[in-house]
């Protein structure tokens, strides 16, 4: 088996007295699609947001491709990196948000080329060509000049995925990508994600879509109370959970 891409080593985090992550250990292999499921408040979104240092961790470490996220290690000390270096790490770890967070003052095309041009320094003409290709891939080639507010939720989320892909990421973090969508629009977003998974993209997906977790993900991690209760292939965790808490949760969502 190849080296894991993401390694969580005893990751802990608290908000004041509230421990949201308790010594999480987890590995994600390149090309793997891992879904994080669990009740709200279980810490799954927080765990995801720690991977690109949108949240600081209080203990343990997260590495992506062997690189410590957010810190520079000297002996046993970890110094927080200056903003520019953190930004550089984030540039290759894309994130898709529950509320899309598209840039409202930019057209679809401008949204997709913004970071490649501004962060990676790709020439604009080149970025536009690339962006058109990606938007075609997510089925929005006819919406280049449209502003986000004129699009449906499903279309907006597909633009957000295109924006993430434009950075040629090695890893994409999905934070409940379909939770803000009307039920009939969930499918079009999941289809795009399914295609990405089949294309070999490494993905971590916080989701409530059990069917997606079952059909697309290589592994499912069930979290509760800041811990990973169980983790394994969907055929085990979703079909034959060993823990009572997992069973209780699954009986509620299905």
């Amino acid at each position: 088996m190849s080296e894991p891409m993401v390694v969580f080593d005893r990751v802990s985090k608290s908000y004041g007295a509230l421990e949201v992550l308790k010594e999480i250990n987890l590995e994600v292999a390149p090309g793997e699609v891992l879904s994080l499921i669990g009740p709200s408040g279980s810490g799954k979104s927080t765990l995801l947001r720690c991977v690109n240092h949108l949240e600081r961790i209080d203990g343990g470490s997260i590495t992506v491709d062997g690189e410590l996220i957010g810190y520079r290690q000297v002996g046993n000390l970890a110094y927080e990196l200056p903003e520019k270096l953190i930004a550089k790490q984030r540039a290759r770890i894309a994130m898709v948000f529950q509320n899309f967070n598209l840039f409202g003052h930019m057209t679809v095309l401008e949204n997709v080329i913004e970071a490649p041009v501004q962060v990676l320094g790709v020439p604009k003409a080149h970025a536009i060509e690339h962006a058109k290709g990606i938007l075609d891939q997510v089925g929005l080639a006819d919406k280049l000049e449209t502003y986000p507010r004129m699009l449906s939720g499903g279309q907006q989320q597909r633009v957000a995925i295109a924006r993430a892909l434009a950075m040629k990421p090695k890893l994409i973090l999905f934070d409940e990508p379909t939770s803000a969508l009307d039920p009939e629009l969930v499918g079009e977003v999941l289809d795009v994600m399914r295609a990405l998974a089949e294309g070999g993209m490494t993905m971590m997906v916080v989701t409530h879509e059990m069917a997606f977790a079952r059909d697309v993900c290589n592994r499912v991690a069930f979290m509760d109370g800041g811990k990973i209760v169980e983790c394994g292939p969907p055929s085990e965790v979703l079909a034959n959970p060993t823990h009572e808490r997992t069973r209780t949760f699954l009986s509620k969502v299905n």
Binding site: E114, Q118, M167
Partner: protein, 306 residues
């Protein structure tokens, strides 16, 4: 017989069992039309009574409208407004960002600045800057604990013009800071997170993502401030600068044509306000283009060609 009832009659003729098609007749609004007509009559007679009144001295207005002194006063008022507003916007942006800083010292310094400059009359601030030499006869700049110091007589630096720019600009910065802060806070925090997750630094996300989306909130009150400054700048007459209003006053103090010269000043103030209003609505349309309906044509763009 008029149209609606004939439609009804036809419908009744064709099929007794089917409900007739309705013809809609909009409300007539006679009241509003009468009110509009009354307003026009009142306004018209008001304007007529002013235009036909010899006491207003319209020939004198015409005589002084393009007077050299009035023109140079207008020029001073115009550029002073522009310069102080530019200072106000730049300073206000810096102060707004400082006020929102997580570092307590930085935000307290910004808030103290606001407290002081909003809490004292701008007239006092103007006089203070003008008389700075009485408090600090020399201004020095240099590196502490070294002999690298440069000193200059205060009166050569703080000319009346400089005192006016400082007094009005620093005061305006305090007011603009609150306007800009409210604009920045109106942008959803998800926008910054998205920018961060794409590898943008704080500065870049502020400049490229947050500020452009704060503009629709910032522009209308900034337009207000600019128009206000056009007239507030007339306070500089206390430090011997001849702005538009002061130029008019100087003239009427000699020829006693008070009302005509004040009308001259007002005509120019109104003209400048009209121009500023037009500029404001253009900028608003530029930043509001993402809020337009899907089928609305983009009529023009101010800053970008593509």
């Amino acid at each position: 017989m008029d149209a609606p009832s004939s439609t009804l009659a036809q419908a009744n003729d064709t099929d007794a069992g089917q409900k007739p098609m309705l013809t809609y007749v909009p409300i007539r609004g006679y009241g509003r039309k009468a009110a509009a007509a009354a307003l026009l009559i009142i306004l018209g007679s008001f304007l007529f009574s002013i235009a036909g009144n010899d006491n207003f001295g319209w020939p004198v207005v015409g005589q002084y409208l393009f007077d050299d002194r009035i023109m140079s006063g207008l020029l001073l008022t115009s550029w002073l407004t522009v310069v102080t507003m530019v200072i106000g916007v730049v300073l206000g942006t810096i102060l707004a960002i400082m006020a929102m800083s997580s570092n307590g010292v930085i935000s307290v310094v910004a808030n103290s600045y606001l407290w002081f400059f909003r809490g004292t009359p701008v007239l006092v601030q103007l006089i203070f800057w003008y008389n700075l030499a009485a408090l600090f006869p020399d201004l020095s700049i240099g590196i502490p604990f070294t002999s690298l110091w440069y000193s200059v007589d205060t009166n050569t630096v703080i000319t009346p013009v400089m005192a006016a720019i400082l007094g009005l600009g620093l005061n305006e910065g305090a007011y603009m800071s609150e306007i800009i802060r409210s604009g920045l806070m109106s942008v959803d925090s998800g926008q910054r997170q998205a920018a961060k997750s794409l590898g943008m630094t704080n500065g870049k996300s502020l400049w490229r993502i947050v500020i452009p989306q704060a503009m629709p909130i910032i522009i209308p009150p900034t337009g207000n401030q600019t128009i206000g400054m056009l007239k507030t700048s007339s306070l500089v007459s206390v430090i011997a600068l001849s702005d538009l209003l002061y130029s008019a006053q100087t003239i009427y103090s000699r020829n006693f044509q008070t009302i005509p010269l004040l009308i001259v000043a007002c005509i120019w103030y109104l003209s400048a306000t009209s121009i500023l209003t037009a500029i404001q609505s253009r900028i608003e349309r530029h930043y509001g283009r993402s809020l337009l309906q899907a089928d609305a044509p983009v009529r023009w763009r101010l800053f970008r060609s593509s």
